[in-house]
Symmetry: C2
Subunit: 232 residues, 2 copies
């Protein structure tokens, strides 16, 4: 049996993914009402800031406890529980957007080899892509995912705003963004790079910077990414 | 009949897309060998810097000439040809990566309403998504596409390098990037934004900046995009 503590996007999706495979319950992180004392795995799916608070309230007698955070080290669980670990799914979760769980990479860490195997066993009901990663490796995964996901979304937002200001339907860039990703199935991002910065085309670059002159924050982002591309 | 001048990614793909619909020929931009004098449409598919050189060498008697650039104004063709315009496909083209041409948005401009209709007629053999855009609007489209495509690819490259340094398979972030895009089919980028900057989680942000301390260029990109997200 798996107990999932949380009410957010990750908790909702993990509950949805596990409930057809294992006996699974979803527990409110504030009240912990109905928390089973003997779940084979208790998963803490709350925001980084709230993990410490939940740990304090949990009974230390739980058989196995894991958190799902990219940034929080395993040690946050070490003082309290006998068997503990991490179940980190590398994905962006939104309640209303469907996911193919089987392809989500899951990174597992445990206090012992036995714990790692136990968490991997549960993870295999969720995904086909299971890896081991210690806390240091997981921090790097999280950093990479900030660039690949959070910042990519921010760039899409900049593009959408430029289109909006020009009275152009924002979805016209979706095929372009899809193809940008598709290319990464065939080649490294370095080899796939195109555009004015790659061609060192200063006429176009300066014309773009001029268009951004009322948005110093966007100019800064344009310049710093263009400089990075030029130096490749 | 369509004559396509160029040897690069765009020329190769446009030739591939048109050749089953219309009589189409591909012409070397340096020699112009075999250029038909009477093609219904002559498409200049060369890099921005080379358009002027090709225009100089073309006979002014060509029935209709268009270029395919996002940044070059239509006026580059106006001094020489009687009927001229722009056929701008908003996509990233790589010779060896397949494309669904029908979904690519094409932005058309022409010296007259009649020219616009002619170019749209040819474009309809290529795509289902045809729009009109003047040179100013097209510049903004190009700027948006630099953020959405070129810069997104650069961020993917940063993520791949972080994973490489941590000895993690670079493809583990692909499902995450795909989902990041998929969310944009359901919501605005603003609503889809997640991550430490969105949560104003300074502990994680500072830990990430610390991890980037040997890469001041990446620190600058991390900071400037995080600042943008925080201010939303």
């Amino acid at each position: 049996m798996i107990a999932i503590i949380g009410r957010g996007n990750v908790a909702t999706h993990l509950f949805r993914a596990f409930k057809n495979k294992e006996e699974t319950c979803l527990v409110n992180p504030h009240t912990l009402e109905g928390l089973p004392a003997d779940a084979d795995l208790t998963l803490i799916c709350v925001s980084d800031n709230a993990i410490g608070e939940v740990v304090k309230k949990l009974p230390s007698s739980l058989p196995l406890v894991a958190h799902t955070s990219g940034s929080i080290p395993i040690s946050v669980l070490g003082d309290k529980f006998k068997n503990y670990g991490v179940f980190y799914p590398l994905q962006t979760f939104t309640k209303d957007v469907e996911l193919n769980y089987k392809e989500i990479p899951v990174f597992v860490e445990g206090d012992s080899e036995k714990t790692v195997e136990k968490i991997k066993h549960f993870a295999s009901a969720f995904s086909h892509n299971i890896f081991e990663a210690d806390s240091e490796k997981r921090r790097k995964l999280h950093l990479a995912s900030v660039f690949a996901c959070n910042f990519t979304n921010a760039l899409a937002g900049i593009a959408q705003n430029i289109l909006k200001e020009a009275a152009i339907d924002k979805t016209v860039i979706n095929p372009l963004m899809r193809q940008t990703l598709k290319k990464l199935d065939y080649m490294d991002a370095g080899a796939a790079q195109t555009g004015p910065a790659k061609r060192k085309d200063d006429i176009v670059i300066n014309s773009h910077l001029q268009m951004l002159k009322d948005h110093p924050d966007l100019m800064q982002i344009y310049k710093s990414i263009s400089d990075l591309i030029r130096e490749q």
